[in-house]
Amino acid sequence: MSDKVYEEIQNTQLDEIFSKPYDPELAEKLYNPQKPMENRITDIGPPHYAQFFPPVIKKNYGKWVSHEIIQPGVIKYKSETGDVVYAVRVGCARLVTTDYIREVCEIADKYCDGYVRWTTRNNIEFHVTDEEKLRALLDDLKGRKFPNGSYKFPVGGTGASVTNIVHTQGWVHCHTPAIDASGVVKAVMDELFDYFGSHKLPAQVRIALACCLNMCGAVHCSDIAILGIHRKPPLVEDDRLQHVCEIPLVVAACPLGAIKPATVEIDGEKKKTVRVNKERCMFCGNCYTMCPAMPLADGEGDGIAILVGGKISNRISPPKFSKLVIPFIPNEPPRWPTTVKWIKKILETYAQHARKYERLGEWAERIGWERFFELCEIPFTEKSIDDYRLAYDTYRTSLHFKFTSHVEPM
């Protein structure tokens, strides 16, 4: 470890600015629309991380020697100084209100000197240094529920569990989604709840959701990926297009060259617009990203694709992409029962058959994807045979396959 870094961390104190009350009128006094540069502060970057380290984290920075998950959701870390810290991981909906954050603050103040952190997968972690506080904290968390009974702070997400679902905005905020995000996540996690707070899977299972092919959620390397897809080519609003889009950019945006410039006559007036070669379209939505006059969304056309077997970590086998096993499930708000059913089926088939430490994709590769489809009872369709770029990489060019129920001797 760099001593310089350690020293900097020790010397960083909690910024006093946070203990000064919020002044709701200050901004209007400082900001002058006529002179926008007046009083403007820019490029200060994020607050220094170390001011938010609890004392035990600060002191033991770089000195941790080992850890143990003493129960699902609780990791005990030991330092070479003899100190220990218990991290308590709880699930969080990601889409939350300030009242919820204030409740997090209240818990943090009560047990953790006010300190708290979020993980990469939208979980919250509380830290305590003794077992008594730990028990009190766990009890307290268990009792906190929303009015209709869901847990505010379910403990889990460690070890061989299903941890929180990384996801995107969906119908709550984005303009391009094929599916909702928060609602699907809620429906799936309700059904898999038991796996969040326990360690009974062969290895960790990471689920991610992205509501369109842009994949802000970067789901492509997840054990189970829920992906929103469109299936209808873009509409073209001829009368509006030239006013809201740069036609050359729209044409260039299509990865398949399916868009051509065109001219039409509307009420005797010539209008510049585009034409889409619908057979070529792969419904990626790039055109809509460039041009609001080319919407794709459609209640019947849109839905969910399920991809499985991806991973990020380098553990045992290299990182892998998720593979398309179910090409389409219709949108079924509010609880997406077919999607939930398939995810549970895949998860539990994996749990039943995989070896200890084996990730979903490693299991599928060991038994062969043909066996995976058979065991999970997922109908195999031609949609799972790649016909995009680099498709050849996935063709079977050996005799190393198994005779599963798919094979009908000719």
Partner: protein
């Protein structure tokens, strides 16, 4: 206060039940308590989306704060009559502190500001890492920015064709495996490249992500144009005493990660030695001793994950630098590819910054509009990128395997005598 209009949301209400934290219950509780029309309207519009199975947000408009080219995502409802409180509903990306630790004093103040100036709803956190304040109107953007910078010493994150907000794992703050100071590096890069973060000048977006070890908890290898993943170049540290404790069943394998199922007694041969991808380990049953042929280890972390009390990464640490991951749009997704197998990372990280700036210079000059670095590398060839652009030595670590076609683009200067030949001379040797 003006009259609050509530909407019937029978489908959305079905998400109030069940054990997982309900965003609907949270938002409605907040809406009732604070009488926030935006929250009622958002739920109303979501109900409409559940009915139509289509989004009701319009294509965003360009909004932001003076002098910055990113950090705000513009959003407008297409149901302005029905849901006037969310007719404009922009998000503000607040640059998170590295690895997302907070103190309640900071969060409470941010909450007060957001109650006052926005919807009171937020995302903890966006997939890039920012704290995302969800939903406000254009007139509030400057005041929010002034509040953040003047009253909270906080700043906006990135969006658009610029450097996106860097993010990192918890690192040495709490993880014994971290081979680098993830937060320090994340903070340093964020501060060094503020201009690149706030003022788009790139062909497209660019992301840094930093993980402390090959477990890669922030998914750097899949999500970042520049992935920095901690590793070690010396030997795995072994505590033989603790290894014996695992073998004897006194310590729980994988730190207790498998505690709720009976997998039988721990079997070091089956669970560690045989699963080692390089087959570089040996357990001597007689000696009760674990041997690792570290020269052959590819640092996959499996044995360390299984026996954290006994094994630790080495002490000569640094990072592997990879480049080029991107999501599937347009040409298909890519994982990052190894560029520098091992780089020591000490402040001020000049070696890394030199590499970054060389890469940016080339990308800014040669990248097409909306071409990610990974696509550019493919277009010009990884070999040219490594050798001609970065001036690095090509080594076998750069590829999984050598190419299997012989179609090498030899350069004229590499071929003895060059390409200019005299046909007449040729024909003297080989009459037609």
């Amino acid at each position: 206060m003006a009259d609050i209009k509530k909407h019937d949301t029978p489908m959305v209400d079905e998400l109030k039940g069940g054990p997982w934290p309900s965003f609907v219950d949270d938002i409605y509780s907040y809406a009732e308590k604070h009488q926030k029309q935006a929250c009622f309207d958002l739920m109303g519009q979501l109900e409409l989306s559940y009915k139509h199975k289509e989004t009701h947000w319009k294509h965003g408009g360009i909004v932001g704060v003076f002098g910055y080219g990113g950090g705000v995502i513009g959003r407008y409802s297409d149901q302005q009559d029905k849901f006037p409180a969310i007719w404009a509903f922009h998000t503000v990306r607040v640059n998170q502190p590295a690895s997302k630790w907070y103190h309640s004093s900071a969060l409470r103040k941010l909450c007060e500001m957001w109650d006052h100036r926005g919807s009171g709803m937020l995302n903890t956190h966006g997939s890039t890492g920012d704290l995302v304040l969800l939903g406000t109107v254009t007139e509030q953007l400057e005041p929010i920015f002034f509040d953040l910078t003047h009253q909270m010493n906080m700043d906006l994150g990135g969006s658009g064709s610029n450097l996106r907000t860097p993010s990192c794992c918890v690192g040495k703050a709490r993880c014994e495996w971290s081979c680098i100071d993830t937060q320090a590096l994340c903070y340093d890069l964020t501060m060094t490249y503020q201009d690149e973060l706030h003022r788009p000048a790139f062909p497209y977006k660019f992301k840094f992500k930093i993980s402390g070890c090959p477990n890669d908890c922030v998914a750097a290898i899949a999500r970042a144009d520049l992935s920095i993943i901690g590793t070690w170049i010396d030997d795995i540290r072994i505590d033989q005493e603790a290894v014996r404790a695992y073998v004897g069943g006194e310590l729980k394998p994988n730190a207790g990660a498998h505690s709720d199922r009976d997998w039988g007694p721990f079997d070091i041969q089956k669970e560690v030695i045989d699963l080692c991808p390089t087959q570089c380990m040996h357990w001597d049953e007689k000696e009760k001793k674990l041997y690792i042929n570290n020269k052959e280890c590819n640092r996959c972390m499996h044995c360390i994950n299984v026996m954290p009390e006994a094994l630790r990464p080495g002490t000569d640490t640094g990072a592997t630098i990879l480049m080029g991951a991107k999501a599937p749009i347009l040409d298909g997704a890519q994982l990052s590819t190894v560029i520098v197998p091992f780089m020591r990372l000490e402040p001020p990280y000049d070696n890394l910054k030199e590499l970054i700036e060389k890469t940016w210079d080339f990308w800014m000059e040669n990248g097409k509009n909306r071409e990610r670095l990974g696509e550019l590398i493919q277009r010009i060839g990884l070999n040219r990128f490594i050798v001609d652009v970065l001036g690095l030595k090509p080594i076998p670590q750069h590829v999984r395997e050598p190419r299997s076609n012989p179609y090498v683009f030899w350069k004229e200067e590499e071929v003895e005598g060059g390409w200019d030949r005299d046909v007449a001379e040729f024909r003297k040797r080989h009459p037609a």
